[in-house]
Amino acid sequence: MIKTLVLVSMILFSDSLIAQQKKQVNNYLNVDFGVASYRGSLSVSVLHNWRLGARQKMGVGLGGRFTSFLGANQYYITAPAALTSGSTGPFVIFKENIPENIDSLLVKSPQVNALNLMINLDYQISRKITVGFNIDAIGFSFGGSKQANFMSEATGMNTTADPTPFNVLLISDNDQGTLNSELYLTYSLSDAWAIKTSAQFLFTEYTTITKVQAYPEENDRFRNKSLMFSVGISRKL
């Protein structure tokens, strides 16, 4: 009898847990447009988000994000942390840039597409308003070859560059490839729909066909960091 009661209570308890878990998970489709001077982005993401805490105010999620970046005459600078900061360790984030190691690559019409795994953190500050942060973690990029002008003080080379194919979030300039992130605020219009605005920080990266930078060591990777104003919509699925 006791065994039966324990068994029944376990089944009921596990059922209620599953039911509660189902309530705590939401899926979203987000579409965002980012814009800044002579550049813009379109990003489409699908997010699987878990609500946490007794009041379910906090959210943690994973998702996939497609980002397409388009610009005109954008400057890219030397990317590897070993050159920009002189080291690649975890404390590189606290290091000052070394200007004499940093050269420029002017890309005439950059267009980079990236598909990345995205991490999300958010907090519901009221029934209608949520603030959050998301960042790409790993993925790949693609796009056409572009004309680019490498400039190192008085000397330069007109060359060709392609989007760096592999993206990975590390620390500071150790990052590689094209990675998007947003500090955002959403306002719910209904149970399903919300409008969204954000400060979007998008890294895009090109690799030149030859190692055009020679000093202090050879390099072919160049990064653009774009801070953009973004608006979008969010649809609960």
Binding site: F33, V35, S37, L106, K108, N149, T155, G156, V231
Partner: protein
């Protein structure tokens, strides 16, 4: 949805700032006495999709090399530079400086140590938009 598109269009329009980096149009007349220097190479500037004309000369003055544009006249444009290039496509170049003016005699120093036998072209180059305005083969 229409409101979102309207906001997006407004933001794009606001973000397209006006640039004011055109080349000065006031004629210049740099001082360089060609009688005290040796002419090494020269060539004629030809506009590439733009109206540019003039003569480019490379002089050697006691070992110091200079590029002289004289006479010179160019259509205006943003961020115009003078490139001293190894090839007609400016695949490898030395930036001699900002174009001083769209008109008049202009002197640009060639960095010491430059092998002038490897550099055979002078470009008037709009750097910001990666557009060649003119090219001269000097020989």
């Amino acid at each position: 949805m229409k409101s979102l598109l309207l906001i997006f269009v407004c933001v794009v329009m606001l973000s397209c700032q006006q640039d004011d980096d055109n080349t000065p149009v006031q004629p210049v007349n740099d001082n360089f006495d060609t009688s005290k220097a040796a002419l090494v190479k020269m060539g004629m500037l030809e506009g590439v999709g733009h109206t540019v004309s003039g003569t480019v000369s490379l002089y050697d003055s006691n070992g110091a090399k200079v590029i002289i544009l004289d006479p010179f006249s160019s259509q205006n444009g943003p961020d115009l530079k003078v490139y001293f290039s190894k090839d007609s496509g400016a695949k490898e170049y030395i930036r001699l400086g900002d174009l001083k003016s769209t008109m008049g005699k202009q002197v640009y120093e060639v960095p010491a140590g430059t092998d002038i036998n490897l550099y055979k072209y002078v470009h008037i180059w709009c750097e910001k938009f990666t557009v060649v305005f003119a090219i001269a083969e000097i020989k």
